[in-house]
Symmetry: C2
Subunit: 389 residues, 2 copies
Amino acid sequence: MDVSVIGTGITRFGMFVETRLRQLASEAADRALADAGVSAEEVGLVVFGNAAAGLLTGQEMIRAHTALGPSRVAGRPMISVENACASSSSAFHLGALAVASGAYDIVLVVGAEKMTSIDRSRAARALAAAVDVELEPSEDPERPPRPVFMEIYAAEARAYMQRTGTTARDLAQVAAKNSRNGSLNPIAQNGTALTVEDVLAARTIVDPLTRPMCSSIGDGAAAVVLTRPELAARRGNPGVRVLACAVGAARAGDDGDVVARTARTAYEQASLGPGDIGVCEVHDAAASAELVIAEELGLAAGGEAVELVRSGATEITGRIPINPSGGLIARGHPVGATGAAQIVELTDQLRGRAGNRQVARARIGLAENAGGSLGNGPAACVVTILATQ
Amino acid sequence: MDVSVIGTGITRFGMFVETRLRQLASEAADRALADAGVSAEEVGLVVFGNAAAGLLTGQEMIRAHTALGPSRVAGRPMISVENACASSSSAFHLGALAVASGAYDIVLVVGAEKMTSIDRSRAARALAAAVDVELEPSEDPERPPRPVFMEIYAAEARAYMQRTGTTARDLAQVAAKNSRNGSLNPIAQNGTALTVEDVLAARTIVDPLTRPMCSSIGDGAAAVVLTRPELAARRGNPGVRVLACAVGAARAGDDGDVVARTARTAYEQASLGPGDIGVCEVHDAAASAELVIAEELGLAAGGEAVELVRSGATEITGRIPINPSGGLIARGHPVGATGAAQIVELTDQLRGRAGNRQVARARIGLAENAGGSLGNGPAACVVTILATQ
């Protein structure tokens, strides 16, 4: 794919009740432009990923334009993209294709979500719209719906533990690793390094998942600037290369293999395999998901991901670091921003700009972002592979 | 642009209170696949345009997946796109670039909107979200907001009349023409041919616009199948070629020239000019807008579009037919479906399949679709140029 990332921008992730979506989105966008050394006029198209602002703020129709109104790109052509928790990886996918097509020299991709508000039930209500609303109506519209997604992940966790011998302590070790990584990430929502004991002692959300094993919803935005490699070289800013970006979806009769299938497509596009990956950002909506995904991506054989954790291989200093940013668990999961945040982290890692959480000798990175549920798997899964030039 | 449209599908447009969005969207999608002779498995990506289902139905996050759940493409990778009344032309734009990039051989673009419901204030509320909700809050959240857009269009109409000597009777002639065209279109929402006197005698919405001079919101869906020209040829189905597709946006300091600017970009992409266009579908949200847009597209000099109407040049049998489908006024304006419906009409015209409303010898067609308002012009404008092979 003839596309490079030449700039990144990200806000702090957290619960900023008083901060508006437009402040977050515009801050990330302007930082990405500044990092890339690109003027607003050079941006041919903005692709804006957001999952649920319509339900959260009442703003639909022109989400991109309002969210980026205070930014330097106000007035540039914009299109909004929605794909549940995979919204901004989907925006990245379409933005990358827009550059690859030759129609645009420079495309800005922004992912942003503002989930906290005075009315705390709103975010839960909005998240619940990532299942089929008409088929699964909330019983009582006045009460916030059950935490649908954590029930899905907890059920997956229980099945995985039974199948593989993984223990609650193993899951706590994943969460503790991600919390340590998050404590090294200045933009992380959860900046406190937790021990395995801290994680095990925390409140249970849905058995076996305790609070620190679950991703945190919140507020945040991330942005990347895309161009073609030859234009990047001409600017003296090679950035990192997009080797692959594949989108998958669960389908009837699936055996829950959408992530594996999408990853295979991405590996084929990039002409490489799991053994070539040096750093990963994956969709750890729950600690158990990180293990399941590691196997789906081929980073461990079936049932053996737990060995990666026990051996320390997925630590920042390990053989195959996973979620050096802290992942959804510690960096936070403002849903429409997550996919773009993963690309920002990988780009920063591959450019050697990840500070205290820098992975040594990372040359090829993989991001896996999933969203929505259709009963037999995620509605969308996006796998992206990036590499140093 | 190396992209061809090889299949189209459209539903009836109208007010179908009992019909669900998923029925409309899936019907259009399946018809387009059948028309193209394409199997669901061949569809690499679905780009789904919808403006306001989150506000109208409570379904966000995975709109495409739910709306196309009953269709043959259920389970294919999908991304939802939102850009107010330009949602499905924006989806078409990104779908065309996805094909042009070489990443996908076949992309399905669907536009769908379901605006009528038992609660009639819902659609008005949702439409009002196409302005900046935070900056222009509805005074009383329990009352439906004022018809913001028709006030914008009426103000534009009054200014245009004063500037050009266009009369209310001229506007009525535009509306009557579009109603006659609509009466020849089996899917049109308003199928009754009106006289100029009928239009003038109708209820005033905002002076000078009477009811038949205003577009009708409603329910409907449209879909197109895209591929690369060489693949189209290999299938024995050349379809029509996408010569250009440009997206513009209003910007600070604009002199209301976004449509003209976007059209210029499209003409440059296609290496042709207004004189080459043989048939148009334009965003006649109001009858006056059709005249203003004709000038912005360069089809008439400034202030002279009214002559096109008085002379009959924009009739189906005229020199430069505009809105042979009946346009937003008569075919109807289920907002997220409109852009795709324009492409369906042009494709059918260029393939000689437009039945009683067929434009003779049409070889090049232009669609103009606009959406949202940022005060100084539409938030988005998409101009597409199609041609026979």
